[in-house]
């Protein structure tokens, strides 16, 4: 089995005050908008990833992916992450899943296949989900390398092979390799998570020591 993720249940739970702050950040900056537009970039809280329209083909049908805008928590969580997780992080943020156009695309339950643009590894701590059966699924394109460059977004995906999947539990750190193509499936509404990004693997899970 390819090593795509690890449940890091030895890492400490996030204190309630930061959970509350992360949810407030999302509520104050993201949920007031019905659609993804440029005004996301103008929010008082810095967005730390980029949003662009991603169209992919599944079962012969063009689908617009969900999106996952992420906002910084670094001014607040910096010291706690340094002391309790690792000092080698590159970003700390909270992300929430949204649809590109709520009117046209409100039923879209998938965040399409991709590798991340801003990181190689990520610690993911799910705070809220509308339904408990959302899955993160890892994929490989036959004949291509397992680890792909940043920002890879394949358009045709029906021939991809599923490697593994995980239904991420709430309030538990999950560490995964963001350079393996992954999607998030069956998002019926809400999905909000604290995310800590890494360019290296300080936890020694994926990279040989």
């Amino acid at each position: 089995m390819t090593l795509c993720y690890k449940i890091m249940d030895h890492l400490p739970n996030v204190p309630d005050e930061y959970v509350h702050l992360a949810l407030t950040t999302v509520n104050d900056t993201i949920k007031q908008h019905k659609t993804i537009t440029d005004d996301y970039q103008d929010q008082p809280v810095s967005m730390i990833n980029t949003i662009q329209e991603r169209v992919f083909v599944r079962n012969g049908q063009e689908i617009v992916s969900r999106y996952n805008p992420r906002y910084t928590l670094e001014p607040y969580m910096n010291a706690w992450v340094n002391d309790n997780i690792s000092r080698e992080w590159s970003q700390i943020g909270v992300a929430t899943s949204v649809v590109m156009d709520q009117d046209k695309n409100s039923e879209m339950p998938s965040h399409c296949f991709h590798t991340d643009v801003t990181r190689s590894y990520v610690l993911f701590y799910l705070l809220e989900s509308s339904n408990s059966d959302q899955d993160t699924v890892f994929w490989r394109e036959p004949g291509k390398s397992l680890h792909k460059k940043r920002g890879t977004v394949p358009r045709e995906t029906d021939h991809f092979v599923e490697l593994d999947r995980i239904c991420i539990p709430k309030h538990t750190w999950i560490y995964f390799d963001a350079s393996i193509l992954h999607s998030v499936e069956n998002i019926q509404g809400l999905r909000t998570a604290i995310q800590i990004s890494f360019d290296c693997d300080p936890l020694g899970v994926f990279v040989k020591g």
């Binding site: 590159s90 390398s145 680890h147 460059k149 940043r150 350079s179 290296c200 020694g204 990279v207």
Partner: protein, 199 residues
């Protein structure tokens, strides 16, 4: 032994015309070719003495190497360039020739393929280090300034015209550079060869 590098003898040699183009690019540096990396003065303390580290500006080769690297090495590269080792002119710190580029992790990549194409002396080497009490793999652009407490964990004298693949998130320095050191670099944010990452 920590896995810091691998000599990639199975990868093909760079064609002569591309090597010539890389050397030409270095020779014409300063004539408007932008750096791929940032160059900053790094003052380091070693054996109780302050030094101004050598630096390694890198210039793009992507318009010329893109297809060859994609077809013969990997399509997962993030940048392709040629770098040359330089010293800063600063008499305050450098009372003689500085022969090392101090320990650091790279700013722009997690893994790199290096292909040395010119060097002043064949006994230049890349040393890998760990800071006691810290993890082996460090965030990008980590630059310790006090060097005496670092522990050397491995070293490689890179052969000329051979691809050497190494993990740039491990602190590394370049030692014993008596003058020239020019290399083609292919940078990666992932490990498409599966050398360092478990799969």
């Amino acid at each position: 032994m920590s896995l810091c590098y691998k000599i990639m003898e199975d990868l093909p040699k760079v064609p002569e015309e591309l090597v010539a183009l890389a050397l030409q690019t270095v020779n014409y540096r300063g004539s408007g070719i932008p750096n791929q990396n940032t160059i900053q003065e790094r003052i380091l303390t070693k054996d109780g003495k302050k030094y101004l580290s050598r630096a390694n500006p890198r210039y793009t080769l992507e318009p010329h190497f893109n297809d060859w690297v994609t077809d013969n090495i990997s399509e997962e590269w993030s940048h392709i360039g040629v770098a040359t080792s330089i010293v800063f002119e600063d008499s305050k710190y450098n009372d003689g020739q500085v022969i090392f580029q101090g320990p650091h992790t790279d700013l722009t990549r997690s893994y790199a393929l290096l292909y040395v194409i010119d060097q002043s002396n064949p006994d230049q080497y890349t040393a890998f280090w760990q800071e006691p009490g810290k993890g082996l793999h460090r965030k990008k652009d980590t630059i310790p300034t006090e060097l005496d407490h670092l522990v050397e964990i491995d070293r490689v004298c890179m052969p000329m015209n051979t691809w050497v693949y190494f993990n740039t998130t491990i602190l590394h320095s370049i030692e014993n550079v008596m003058g020239k050191r020019v290399a083609i670099h292919v940078g990666f944010d992932c490990d498409p060869f599966g050398v360092f990452v478990r799969s």
